[in-house]
Every structure is written in structure tokens, then in C-alpha cells.
């Protein structure tokens, strides 16, 4: 299912910048409060997630550093609002180095009359969707593919990302950011490129989750951008001094400046909001739908993967995105190409009008060497 992302029911506030980072608050004027998101901290442990089975049983597993999970509580009725998120079983205690999780999204037992809730591993849900793209590998025994590819598909498929704390300047920007009273989310720009978007349903939840921005993972690209551009280029909108004669004029001018900022930010974020996305439904809970989405992989455009919760009427209640780096986009693009041609490399080469050797080289350079037979890889001139 394709659609477009939009900030339905939300508006953009005035940005605050510090070093290479510009944080733009996203505001919600009347939070209904029937969907609340809380944080469950896992500490410094490695997580192994059984994607469709119990962990460590036979089946696909997702292995990553998982610092925290979100607990989403919701109520069906329109009247009863959840009174904050209750995190009954705060898991703390001894040091564990590996933590086992059962599935990315999992319902949790709730009290009889309390709000119902489920646990979700933020961003890992989206990342897993990205990694699972054409994960099964070739269906037909084409001669170029290695035995490993035929038997195990793309496994092990891996991507790299960096922690928020590694991005230079992000820590200070997050610490000194002044949270707006009605703020429910943030657009995070590093060196004027959109690094991630994060939206929750209720301002109180955002206040608690604000620092989780640092524990999230970001594209490797942004790590480099932050190193190369420690200061933001100058961007400002000023009051036009000549037209101001009265206080009312000044007020109007200030509103205009505010508008300028909103349009500037919308322009900078157009890579996320103006492009078609492919949506996959993960879970339906009452009036809320949890989905994850992938963009169309275009080598010349920004690509963001992510997950969201949307209310039946289209209001965005939760959003978290991840900016793919160029190498990641290339890998996904190549996989799409091959999969579209039923894994037949000759068809792909025909469509691209390139020689087979050329295309095989591209595959190897993108990191898919392990899918091809060793003698073919060896035969390619470097």
C-alpha cells in the first residue's frame, strides 16, 4: 500500500539550533490523551529478538543494541483517558549482557479495567522491515548465486548505524533544548539535513522521552555530516524594520517571521514528507493502527524508513524515522531491481543496458559478495 506521510493534526514550531544540530518542535494543540507512550529502559545490553518465534528457537532473529522499548497504552472509548503510563514491571537489577525479546511488538497483560497496552522496540521495528526486504533470496536456481544464497537467502543481512551520543553536538543540543509546553515531537536536523522525526501522542510523554533521542540510532551519514559541519550555515528571518510603525505592525511581522520559519523547515523536511512510501500494517489496536514504511529507493533522493501509529481519522499519533545512508539506499535499490526481475541477472542487465560484468561488480561493491559464487567474484577484474 503506498501513501504519503503527513503531520495531520500537528503544527511546526520555531527551531532551536546549537552547533550542527537544529531541533524543531512539533506541537499538538489538543492532545486527546487516550494513547500514552512510556519508556522501558534496558540498560547497556545487547538484544536478540525472535522476529516470528520465541528467541533462540529455530527461525529468524534480529540482533542489535536495544537500549529501550516503548510501552504504548490506549483506551477504546472516547471518554476514558489513560492516566499516564504505568510501568509496573520495571526491569532493573543485575547486569545482563544479552537480553532476549519475543517479537518486535508484543501485547502485554493489562489490569481488567486499565488501559490495554503493548510493547514495541522503537525504530528496530522499522529497521527489521528494511533488513527483511527480499530476505528469502532467489526462488529460481540461477547459476550465478552461491549455495549459501539459495539455502539461507540474504542471511546474515546487516546494516550499520551510530548511536545518538556519537553524533557530535547532538548531546548538548538535546540537553539545552527548551521543550515547548505543547510539544509532542521533534524534527532533528544535522547540518541542515533531516536526521530523524519523532512524534508521540501526549506532551507529558514527550517530556519524558526527550532524552531517548540520544539512545536512538542514526544513519552513519549524519555522523559524518556532524563532523564535517560543526556549525550551521546562517539562516534567519528578520522583522522588516521599515514597515513597522505601531505595535500591531510589529505583532504582524513577528507572525510573518514565524511563518517563514515553518515554511523553511517544511522545505528542509520535504525529503520525508513529500515522497511516496510503502506502508505495511503491523498491528491494529482499537482505533489505532501501527504501521512501518519504506520509501521508494531512489539513488538521488533522501530516503527515510520509519514506523508510525495513525488514528482512524488520519491523525498522526506516533512517528519515528531513520535516515538511510547512501550505501544503504544503494543496497536496497539493487535488491529491488533484482527481485523485480525474478532474480534473473540477465534481465536486470538488459533493463539497465549495462554489461553483466559491470552489474556484478556493482553487486560486489555494495556488499553482496556472499550471494555470488566465489569463482565469479574472483573472475571480476578489480
Amino acid at each position: 500500500m503506498t501513501s504519503k506521510l503527513s503531520l495531520t493534526g500537528l503544527r511546526i514550531g520555531s527551531p532551536q539550533s546549537m552547533g550542527a544540530v537544529r531541533l524543531v518542535p512539533i506541537l499538538r494543540d489538543d492532545p486527546p490523551g487516550d494513547l500514552r507512550i512510556g519508556l522501558r529502559s534496558y540498560g547497556e545490553s545487547l538484544g536478540i529478538v525472535g522476529v516470528d518465534t520465541r528467541p533462540l528457537e529455530r527461525g529468524t532473529h534480529y540482533v542489535s543494541y536495544v537500549p529501550h522499548a516503548f510501552v504504548v497504552s490506549y483506551t477504546d472509548g472516547e471518554t476514558s483517558a489513560a492516566l499516564g503510563t504505568r510501568l509496573g514491571d520495571e526491569e532493573r537489577g543485575g547486569k545482563s549482557f544479552i537480553r532476549l525479546h519475543h517479537r518486535m511488538v508484543k501485547s502485554e497483560l493489562a489490569d481488567d479495567d486499565g488501559p490495554r497496552r503493548f510493547r514495541l522496540l522503537p525504530l528496530h521495528l522499522a529497521m527489521e522491515g528494511f533488513l527483511a526486504l527480499h530476505f528469502r533470496g532467489p526462488d529460481v536456481l540461477w547459476s550465478e548465486y552461491s549455495e549459501h544464497a539459495h539455502r539461507f537467502g540474504l542471511s546474515p543481512r546487516m546494516e550499520r548505524s551510530v548511536r545518538g551520543t556519537w553524533i557530535r553536538g547532538l548531546e548538548q543540543a538535546v540537553a539545552t533544548f527548551e521543550i515547548h509546553p505543547r510539544q509532542v515531537g521533534v524534527l532533528c536536523f544535522v547540518a541542515e539535513t533531516l536526521a530523524s522525526a519523532f512524534v508521540v501522542s501526549h506532551p507529558d510523554d514527550y517530556r519524558k522521552l526527550h532524552t531517548s533521542l540520544l539512545e536512538d540510532f542514526y544513519g552513519h551519514l549524519l555522523y559524518q555530516y556532524a563532523l564535517f559541519h560543526p556549525e550551521l550555515p546562517r539562516a534567519e528571518s528578520r522583522v522588516d524594520v521599515d514597515v513597522v510603525a505601531t505595535l500591531a505592525d510589529l505583532e504582524r511581522e513577528v507572525e510573518r517571521v514565524r511563518g517563514d520559519w515553518v515554511s523553511y523547515v517544511s522545505l528542509m523536511a520535504s525529503g520525508l514528507f513529500d515522497r511516496p512510501i510503502t506502508v505495511e500494517r503491523v498491528r491494529t489496536s482499537g482505533p489505532f493502527v501501527l504501521e512501518r514504511f519504506l520509501p521508494s529507493f531512489d539513488l538521488d533522493e533522501e530516503c527515510h524508513i520509519g514506523e508510525r501509529i495513525v488514528r482512524k481519522d488520519g491523525t498522526l499519533e506516533y512517528l519515528k524515522t531513520f535516515r538511510l545512508s547512501q550505501a544503504q539506499i544503494r543496497r536496497a535499490y539493487l535488491l529491488e531491481l533484482i527481485a523485480k526481475a525474478d532474480w534473473n541477472l540477465d534481465t536486470v542487465c538488459e533493463r539497465l543496458a549495462s554489461s553483466k560484468e559491470e552489474f556484478l561488480k556493482r553487486l560486489v561493491n555494495a556488499g553482496f559478495e556472499y550471494l555470488l559464487k566465489p569463482h565469479i567474484v574472483r573472475g571480476l577484474s578489480r
Binding site: G13, P15, R238, L247, E251, W261
Partner: protein, 475 residues
């Protein structure tokens, strides 16, 4: 600019920058001014800059005595001696230790240290000798000051001395053996000895109560409430308003709500006293006060910017004929104010200009972000939109990168502020700075300040009984 920096900076961590950066930045600024404008540098001591910077200036001047011009020497000596005497004892001791650390031991320094340590009235000297034993001894030995009378026994012979005739020294000696003697000592010394004797906390607090200084009383409110079931009486009226505002902001919101009337009353009485002392009155005043999240300060200066804003607000309320306060997020009761939200300075500035004030004071750390950089422009436009209104931006935070408190706009006077009650001085200073910019007049103004500083009564500004003389800045 330098004076300005000296009003605000304390070398501590701030919301937007760390302590090291602050210390390096202000240290450089001091060295620069010292090297190029030595006379002015010394005279800044008379301008009422904060204690941290006074201490730094004294240290730097003494460390570079060779460079002073012969015709300025007498004035500089007088300024340094006077400044050292007017500093709270803990600050002055820190200056002496810093001199030792930097191995400054020229003849002038030794003479000034000797004068400070030994020429104080005997009871003050003995009190300092006991309360700041280690610093006192180290500074005296470093400056080759001979120990007079029983000081020699205290510092050189230790407990080999069998008996002192000075009551305080004798109490200090006996307190090592007898519990009853500890209650004659200053609180900070007695506390350690009480632990040695295993005195129960409630007994100790009850019996030491008469010896507590004002700040210690304020600090021990919670301890006494827990141990004795009632708080110590604090002489609210005599506390500096900003200090009291800091105390108010340190209380949990529940307690503030419960004691709102009491706290407001205490704050207003302190402010009223401070206003009476300056004798300044204003006409129609509006204040724009920043309560954004950055006014939470840092771990070292918790809520300091907000406390300054609160103190300025109460101060102006008492001193102005007509007063309106505009917080960045409206607040019902100022006593309950908390650091909250983004910095939207423009809206309150517009609202404030609507009241057509004669004086508009903006208290903010100079970071305005909702929307960015517009507040400065609004202030620039203020003279056109509201003729006859004097606009002043005071900033409680020193910006390490800019070597000055951060300003909202280059055209609006920005002054550093340490305590809310200094606002009257700053308004006068800003009016002066804007009206007469010539160097000669600045010199004349400084001359007057220096004369007043040197001619005033000796000792700390508020002479207190000798036993509680050290009204220290909280560290």
C-alpha cells in the same frame, strides 16, 4: 565590556557552557585588561563587581606588581587593601591561598597579607584563625608573617600547649576532649567535633543554634525541621533578596504553594529593606522576565537566572510607582514560578510596550528562540514605538565565547547582573553609559566611585557582630 563580564561571571558551569570554558574565558579577559589598561583594571574593584572577580583582580594585581606605574602605586595599594578587607572572609582566604599556589611572594603582597591577617580587630582575627585554621596558617607562613601572642601556640605548638588564655582558642582546645566546649565554636568547626564526640544531631543543632550565621540558618532549615521538629528562626528581612529568592525556588512546589503567603511576605520584606537602603524610586516600570527552561541554570548554579529574575521583579514592584511583570510563560503567582518552556520574549515585550512604560527591563540569558533573534529587533524598535521608554537588558549569565553577557541586540544596552537588588545601580549605569560615552566622563565617574569606595566605612558592607562576621557567599 570588562566591567560587564565581571558583574556576571563566576567561573561556574552555566546552562549553555561548562565551568572550564567559563574560567578560561574570564581568565583571559582579566589578563588582557590587566596588560593593557592596568589603572582601569584596578579601579574596577570600586565598581561593585562580584566577589569572584574582585578576588581574581586582587590576585592578578599582586602577582604582577612590577608593572605598576609609580604614580598609580599608592591608589592601587589602597584599592587592593580595601577590596580584600571588604570581601567575605572565605573569599579573602581563598585569594590568599591562590597567591600561595601561584608562588606570589613579593614585598607588597607580604605586607598586604600581613595587614589583612594581623591588623584585624583581635576578636575577628582569632575567629578567623580558628574557623579558617589551615588557610590562615598557610597564608601567614607563605607571607612570612610572625605569629603574635597565642597564635604561635595554636599554629606551631598544636596541642602541646596546655592552656590558652584567649577564650576561643581555649574552647577549641577543650572541644577536642569535652563535648560541652564545642558549643562555643563556630558551627562549621563544631560540626566535625560533634561527630567525633558522637553527639546526637538534634542535641547538637539545638545547642549550636545561637552560634549560627544567617546563611547557615537558612541552609539548615530542613535539617532542623527534621531533627527538632521546627525550623530555625531566620531573620528574613536581613537576607539579600536574591539569596532568599534562590531559597524560595529551591523548595518543592507543594511546599511553596502551602507557604506562599509566608514566603512572599519574607521576600517582600527583604526587598523593602534593600529598596530603602538604596533610596531609589522609579515611575512606570515594566519587566520582561525569562522563565524558559534555560533559566534553570546548571548543577552548580541551580535556578540562579530564575532567582535573579524573581528578585528583580519583586524589587521593581517595591520601588516603582506602577509596575507590571511579563513572564515568558504567564504565571499566576510569582512565588510558584518554575523554569519551563521555550524562550518567547517577543510577545511579552510587545505586551509590555502596550503599557507605555518609562523603563523596560528585560531579564534574560540572551538566547531567544521562539522565533529566533526577533526579540532584539523588537527592543531596537521600542524607542520608535514607545517614545520616552528606556530599555535595558540585564543578563545573569556570562557567555564564555563572547567574553561578555550575551546581548539580544547590539543596539540595546546589555549589562551583566549578579544579584537582583543591583538593578537600581545597573539602571543608573546604563543611563550613564548611553548618555555620556566619552572616556573623560567615564574616568570622572570612576574617580567618584573610587573615592566613595576608599572613603567608606571599613570592614564588610554590613558590619555584623564579630562572632558572625563572615557572611560568606554560598559556594
Amino acid at each position: 565590556m570588562f566591567v560587564n563580564a565581571c558583574f556576571a561571571c563566576t567561573g561556574q558551569r552555566e546552562f549553555y557552557s561548562d565551568g572550564t570554558g567559563q574560567a578560561v574565558s574570564i581568565g583571559f579577559l582579566h589578563q588582557y585588561v590587566l596588560g593593557n589598561y592596568r589603572r582601569l583594571y584596578a579601579r574596577v574593584l570600586a565598581c561593585g563587581v562580584n566577589h569572584f572577580n574582585q578576588g581574581l583582580i586582587v590576585t592578578n594585581l599582586l602577582a604582577s606588581g612590577r608593572d605598576v606605574r609609580p604614580e598609580d602605586r599608592a591608589e592601587e595599594n589602597a584599592l587592593v587593601t580595601r577590596a580584600l578587607a571588604s570581601l567575605p572572609a572565605n573569599r579573602a582566604m581563598r585569594v590568599l591561598l591562590e597567591l600561595r599556589r601561584r608562588r606570589v611572594s613579593n614585598r607588597r603582597t607580604r605586607a598586604i597579607v600581613r595587614k589583612y591577617l594581623m591588623d584585624a580587630p583581635p576578636e575577628v582575627r582569632d575567629f578567623r584563625a580558628v574557623k579558617y585554621r589551615r588557610a590562615f596558617r598557610a597564608a601567614a607562613i607563605h607571607a612570612h608573617v610572625p605569629f603574635e601572642g597565642e597564635l604561635a601556640g595554636l599554629f606551631l605548638r598544636g596541642f602541646c600547649e596546655r592552656k590558652f588564655s584567649t577564650p576561643l582558642f581555649e574552647a577549641f582546645r577543650r572541644a577536642h576532649y569535652a563535648e560541652s566546649a564545642i558549643y562555643e565554636l563556630p558551627y562549621s568547626i563544631a560540626e566535625g567535633l560533634a561527630a567525633k564526640h558522637g553527639v546526637r544531631r538534634e542535641v547538637f543543632l539545638e545547642r549550636i543554634a545561637p552560634r549560627l550565621t544567617r546563611n547557615e540558618r537558612l541552609r539548615l532549615q530542613d535539617a532542623s525541621l527534621e531533627a527538632l521538629g521546627e525550623s530555625f528562626d531566620v531573620d528574613w528581612e536581613r537576607l539579600p533578596p536574591t539569596r532568599l529568592a534562590s531559597y524560595v525556588l529551591s523548595r518543592p512546589l507543594d511546599e511553596r504553594r502551602r507557604r506562599a503567603d509566608e514566603l512572599r511576605d519574607a521576600l517582600d520584606r527583604a526587598v523593602a529593606r534593600s529598596v530603602r537602603r538604596t533610596g531609589v524610586r522609579f515611575g512606570r516600570v515594566a519587566c520582561v522576565l525569562d522563565r524558559s527552561f534555560s533559566s534553570a541554570g546548571s548543577r552548580e548554579k541551580r535556578n540562579r537566572p530564575l532567582a535573579v529574575a524573581l528578585a528583580v521583579s519583586r524589587w521593581m514592584r517595591a520601588a516603582a510607582a506602577e509596575y507590571t511583570a511579563f513572564w515568558t510563560e504567564p504565571v499566576d503567582d510569582e512565588i510558584l514560578v518554575t523554569p519551563y518552556g521555550a524562550t518567547n520574549l517577543v510577545r511579552p515585550i510587545i505586551d509590555a510596550l502596550r503599557t507605555e512604560p518609562e523603563l523596560l527591563v528585560v531579564v534574560s540569558d540572551g538566547y531567544d528562540n521562539d522565533p529566533p533573534t526577533v526579540a532584539g529587533q523588537a527592543l531596537e524598535l521600542a524607542p520608535r514605538l514607545c517614545p520616552g521608554c528606556f530599555v535595558l537588558h540585564v543578563n545573569p549569565v556570562y557567555d564564555a565565547d563572547g567574553f561578555a553577557p550575551r546581548s539580544l541586540s547590539p543596539d540595546v544596552p546589555t549589562l551583566g547582573i549578579r544579584d537582583g537588588e543591583d538593578i537600581a545601580t545597573l539602571v543608573a549605569f546604563a543611563r550613564f553609559a548611553r548618555g555620556a560615552a566619552s572616556l573623560a566622563e567615564l574616568e570622572a565617574h570612576l574617580d567618584a566611585r573610587v573615592r566613595a569606595f576608599l572613603g567608606g566605612p571599613a570592614g564588610p558592607e554590613e558590619p555584623a557582630p564579630a562572632k558572625t562576621a563572615d557572611v560568606g557567599e554560598a559556594r
